[in-house]
């Protein structure tokens, strides 16, 4: 101890100055480390926490459901049942995107509302002003792209024909992707009953996924919004079975 302290005070002089520079240097290094830790927190830890929150919601939802027969059911194309709107923050059902299987948590809760607090639980949030699942019009959902569960991270990999499935307490709703576009956050008409045509009476049952995107930063940017459209192709009663695509998905019950 004595040896070290005498060394800092001795030869090249300017004891106070060199000590001050030493402390300054250590503070700057600390600042750099803290910035690095922030990135770790943002990209990794938020996802760990959000996935826990989402898992809790999913488990609660699934435990409230009657056992679904583990068989593939016929897709019905008549008018599906439409659920009543639930209160803000309550669970509507589960969103299952078979194309995301093995990549992200592809059985995520759908909750009513799109506040940051809700979306930070790694859920898909239903825009409350849009239609209900199965209803004629637009069932529009928001989710994070990166961080907080990376909910819609691989939205860019969805191609026309890919299925987007919604599971509720009574019904499976099957939609198929029709296309996508990248828009500015101000272009809210993409979630209109007929996308981009506000005021027009809808005739089709649509589902729209909205998430962050940037033409330059891709999944890491949030200057734009990635909009993926899907169209209703059919439904099935939970009592009859489930869509073939989700039979092998361990996240589905």
């Amino acid at each position: 101890m004595r040896h070290t302290s005498s060394r800092t005070r001795s030869p090249s002089g300017g004891g106070v100055v060199s000590t001050a520079f030493g402390v300054l240097g250590e503070l700057l290094i600390t600042l750099g480390v803290v910035f690095g830790l922030f990135v770790v927190w943002q990209l990794w830890w938020t996802t760990v926490q959000s996935n826990q929150a989402a898992t809790t919601i999913m488990t609660e939802f699934q435990e409230s459901l009657p056992e679904a027969p583990q068989v593939a059911a016929e897709l019905r194309t008549d008018a599906p049942p439409v659920p009543e709107a639930v209160a803000e923050g309550e669970t509507i059902g589960a969103l299952i995107v078979p194309a995301w299987y093995g990549k992200t948590d592809n059985t995520m809760p759908i909750v009513q509302g799109t506040s940051t607090e809700l979306l930070n639980k790694a859920v898909a949030g239903h825009y409350t002003q849009t239609q209900q699942v199965g209803e004629v019009g637009n069932f529009a959902l928001a989710g994070h792209r990166r961080t907080y569960g990376n909910s819609f991270r691989f939205v860019n990999e969805l191609v026309p024909g890919d299925q987007v499935i919604v599971e509720t307490a009574s019904t499976w709703y099957v939609y198929e992707v029709t296309g996508h576009e990248v828009v500015l956050p101000s272009q809210v008409d993409v979630i209109a009953p007929v996308p981009n045509e506000p005021g027009v009476e809808p005739t089709e049952r649509l589902l729209t996924l909205t998430t962050c995107h940037s033409p330059t930063l891709g999944e890491f940017g949030n200057s734009h919004r990635w909009i993926t459209y899907a169209k209703f192709v059919g439904w099935m009663d939970r009592a009859d079975g489930m869509p073939e695509q989700v039979l092998d998905d361990p996240g589905v019950q």
Binding site: Y148, P185, C212, R225
Partner: protein
């Protein structure tokens, strides 16, 4: 600064290292639990996937 703190930790070298690790872990925990969420919220680092 860090050297000064390290030298003023009690015990032998082994215990000094253990205590240093505990201190670092405590600082990281405080950052992850309170500081970073506050920074992200205050400066809107993460943005919002919603439409504004």
């Amino acid at each position: 600064m860090y050297g000064w703190i390290f030298r003023h930790l009690p015990g032998n070298r082994f215990w000094q290292v253990v205590q240093s690790l505990v201190l670092v872990a405590a600082v990281v925990a405080v950052l992850f639990t309170w500081v970073f969420p506050w920074v992200a919220e205050t400066f809107n680092v993460n943005g919002d996937p919603n439409f504004d």
